[in-house]
């Protein structure tokens, strides 16, 4: 596997030291890391799943709004942040890899290099009961 960009390396190190759940995706949307607090939300240790291709992660997590309608790829916070090159906030439900459905909120920040390339997104997650009260499409 090719070495990561230095910005992703530093973002991973930051995430590793934070107490809030963080998911790190690369420019394609593939999960390249989630930290220990995020393991509670994903229902699996990162070392057990390692890097998840975007399609596999989306299929397993099955993200959906509170009314059950699925999030499209374009609505996923990391993808939105990278496409729009600005932070994106979304409230939704997702299945952990342990099969448990959890309401969460996520704020994704695009990681843009000094060369002007979007290399990925830094996604901070919260387990929030309030997410269930957010109407579909409001995010």
């Amino acid at each position: 596997m090719a070495p990561s960009e230095v910005e992703l390396i530093l973002a991973r190190q930051l995430a590793d030291g934070l107490a809030v759940p963080v998911l790190l995706v690369d420019g394609r949307g593939d999960t390249v890391f989630f930290n220990e607090p995020a393991e509670v939300l994903f229902g699996r240790r990162f070392d057990e799943v390692d890097a998840l291709p975007f399609e596999a992660r989306t299929a397993l997590l099955a993200p959906r709004y509170a009314d059950g309608s699925p999030l499209t790829i374009e609505q996923l916070p990391g993808m939105r942040a990278m496409r729009e090159r600005r932070p994106a906030h979304v409230a939704f439900h997702m299945h952990g890899l342990d099969g448990v459905l959890r309401p969460v909120e996520a704020t994704a920040i695009p990681l843009e290099s000094a060369r002007g390339h979007v290399l990925g997104a830094f996604v901070v997650l919260w387990a929030q009961e309030a997410a269930a009260r957010v109407p579909p499409g409001a995010a």
Binding site: M1, A2, P3, S4, E5, V6, E7, I9, L10, R12, Q13, D16, E112, S113, A114, R115, G116, H117
Partner: protein, 274 residues
């Protein structure tokens, strides 16, 4: 490929009797072929390189890792820049906010320096180092961002099947333990390089006091070189407060620790023929 060290010191020039063997000039290394000259960094060592390369008809490519003073302060004293009719290519780290010329002009303009870039006699062509490898008069050059404060690059120069990697200011340990190569900054630049110039500024104890300053310990430099499979590690960017005896001791530590390659410490005048 002929490699010459013109400056091996980090942070600030530190000339004196206690540094006479390894030298007190800051970062500058030239890489020559029959067809071209690449110069890595423009520290105070660049002045002496300029004396040798004045009148040399080969094209010059100056590759800047970053714009800290110890890597650019030699620019204004590089004689080929004052040679009328000569073209010199200056490559540096890109930025989304200001171009390379604007950033260099902060130094190369009054009151810090009396001569502006436009007043050099040579035609200076400034380039943002591209993401992809590029060819420069027979050299294949690859640049990649490194862990160091501010936009900073490392370089790999290849020609005739040989390669030299130059990671002068680099703190890969800030990205985590030096174990999984995917998560090690600068790794792809150094893989199986014949010669690897790598930051080895600190002792292990000094590093513990200076985490985040952008530099490495000898122990980390050796671990990085071994993981990358670099044949010859050259410790670089010597701490200005380290005298020759101290650098001798650090070199001995590196030689003892290397698992699959040799170790040297950069000193002014060191020539490596590849």
């Amino acid at each position: 490929m002929k490699i010459t060290v013109w400056g091996s010191r980090g942070s600030i020039a530190s000339a004196g009797p206690e540094t006479v063997r390894y030298g007190g000039n800051t970062a500058c290394v030239s890489v020559e072929s029959d067809d071209a000259i690449c110069i890595l960094d423009a520290g105070s060592g660049l002045r002496r390189a300029g004396l040798v390369f004045t009148g040399d008809a080969r094209p010059i490519h100056l590759l800047l890792t970053h714009l800290h003073m110890d890597h650019i302060q030699g620019l204004g004293f590089f004689r080929p820049l004052f040679e009328s009719g000569r073209t010199i290519h200056l490559w540096g780290p890109p930025s989304t906010t200001q171009d390379l010329r604007t950033r260099l002009t902060r130094y190369l303009s009054p009151p810090l320096f009396p001569v502006r870039i436009r007043d050099f006699g040579a035609d200076v062509e400034l380039h943002d180092a591209p993401v992809e490898s590029w060819l420069a008069d027979g050299f294949e050059i690859h640049a990649a961002a490194l862990i160091h404060p501010g936009p900073t690059l490392g370089y790999r120069i290849s020609a005739g099947g040989r390669s030299v990697a130059y990671l002068s200011d680099h703190e890969p340990a800030l990205g985590g333990p030096l174990i999984r190569t995917r998560w090690i900054s600068g790794f792809d630049l150094a893989v199986r390089a014949d010669v690897l110039f790598h930051d080895g500024q600190y002792t292990t104890d000094e590093y513990r006091q200076r985490v985040g300053w952008g530099h490495s310990s000898v122990e980390q430099a050796v671990a990085f070189a071994d993981l990358a499979g670099a044949a010859r590690l050259v410790l670089f960017h010597h701490e200005p407060d380290h005298d020759d005896t101290m650098v001798d001791d650090m070199l001995e530590q590196a030689r003892s620790a290397r698992q699959n390659g040799s170790a040297d410490a950069a000193r002014e005048g060191l020539v490596i023929d590849l």
